[in-house]
Amino acid sequence: MIGISLFDVIGPNMVGPSSSHTAGAVSMALLARKIFYKEKKTRERLIRRADFTLYGSFAKTYRGHGTDRALLGGMLGFETDDLRIRDAFSYAEANGLEYSFSVSEDKDMHPNTADMDLTGMDGRKLFVRGVSLGGGKVKITRLNQIEVDFTGEYSTLIVSQTDKQGVAAHITKCLSDCGVNIAFMRIFREAKGAKAYTVVESDEKIPEAVMDSIKKNPYIANVTLL
C-alpha cells in the first residue's frame, strides 16, 4: 500500500515497550518465519532452531526492550499484539524451538538490526537479516549470502535463480501473462553469473499460478510467494 494509513498513526496495536525494538522485532521474525515456511512446502518444514545475532541499539538494550522475547515470539507466529510474547521463552521451550542470542560489536550496521539463522526439522537452513526502521516498520536486507531490500508490506514474490541472460525477461513475461501489475522489481546477486534473487512486489495479490510458470525456466531454483 502506498501512503500513510490511519492505522500507521493510531497503531500498531502492540506489546510494549518500543515500536522499533519490540513490535519491529516481532514483525521481522514473522517475516523470516513466513519466508522459511513458504520457501518449501514439505511436512518437515517446521523451524527447529533459531540463532539470533543483534547489532547496534538492539545489542545494547535488547533485554530492557524485550527484543529477545519479541524475536522469539515472532518466530513462534505471534502477532505484534499477542500477550504471549511476554512469555516467549517458555512457549519456545513448550514448542521445541531451540534458540540462542548473541550480540555483535559491528558498528557499520544499521543500529536496529538482527540476523536470524534458521534451521528446519529437516536440516534446511535460511539466513535472514532484518532491520527495524522505526514505528514498527521493518525491511529484510539479506537472504542467505545475498544482500536484498524489501519490506513484505506488498504481495511479494522471491525468485531464487542463477544470474543468466533472459531469466528476468522470463519472469516479467510470466507476471504479465498472469496480469500482475508490478510495483517494484529488483534483481540482487552475489556476482555476475552467480546465485541471485529477483524480488517482485505488487499492490495486488500475486496469483499462485504464476509460480509454476516461472519455475519452468531451467535457471530458476525456487519461487516463494509471501
Binding site: 498513526v9 493510531i10 496495536n13 506489546v15 510494549g16 515497550p17 515500536s19 513490535a23 500477550l83 522505526g134
Partner: protein, 292 residues
Amino acid sequence: MDFKSGKELLDLCEKMQMPISEVMKRREAELTGMREEEIDAGIKKALSIMDNSAHEPLEKEMNSMGGLIGGEARRLKEGSKEGKSFCGDVITKAITYAMAVLEVNASMGVIVAAPTAGSSGVLPGVLFALKEEWGLEDEVLHQGLYTAGAVGYLLMRNASVSGAQAGCQAEVGSASAMAAAAAVEMMGGTPGQALSAAVGALSNLLGLVCDPIGGLVENPCQNRNAVGAVNALINAQQALAGIRQKIPFDEMAQVMLNVGRNLPFELRESALGGCATAPSACGLGGCGKGIG
C-alpha cells in the same frame, strides 16, 4: 479524497461541510480500499485496547522490564481519593491514565502506539478523562481518534514522529497535538479550532529532548506523557474559547521538524545526554554509553 497539508484538510472540511474525523475516514477508505465498517472496527479495537491499558494499572501492579517505573497510576488514584486532587478531576484523570498506559507499555502489555509506543499514554489520557467527566459516548471518542489520526498523519508525512530523528517533541509533542485536535472536535469545536489547538500543543513542547534513562521507554517518558495530555487539554480549552494561534499548522509542523534537526545526537534517543546522563541516572542503567 486526499490531503497533504493542514490547509488542504481545512479546505476539504469547508468544501464538504464535514468535520476532520469524517474527511479522515473517507481518505482511509479511498487509500486502502477498505469499507467504512471495517475501518470503524479497527478504530473500535484501538479504543478498547486504549481503555484497557488506561485502567488496568489502577487495579493491578505492573512490573516494568527496566524496573524504573510501576505503580504511579495507582498512587495518583489513591491520592485523589484522599482529597489531594487539587488539579481537578479532568486533569487528574488525564495524567493518571497517561501514566497508566506507559506502565502497561513498559511491562510488555498491549498498547496502541499513537503515534509511538513512547507517547502512547497521551491520547488515552485525554480521551478517557473527557469521556468519564463529560459523559461522552464511545462514538464521540471514535471521532476523536479519526481526528487525532488526521493530525498524526500530517505530522508523520510532513514533519517527524520519531524521537531518534527529532526528539521527544516529535513523539509526545505530536501525540499532544493529536489529542488537542481530538478534544476540540469531541467538545464541539470547528476544524479550524482543532488545528489551532494542535499548533499550540506543538509550540509549547518545541525542543523537548528525548533522553530516556538507560535507553528504556520508562523514565522520563512516563512523566512526559502526563505533560502531553495536560498540554492537549490546555490548548483545546484555549481554542474552544476562541483563541487562535498566530502560526498556521503547516508552518508549525515545519518548525518542529527544523528544531528537531537542530537537536544534537545526544538528545535524540541515544541515551547520551539529558536525564540519561544525570549522575543518579547512571546507577540505573548504562550512563553515557549510549544506545546508538
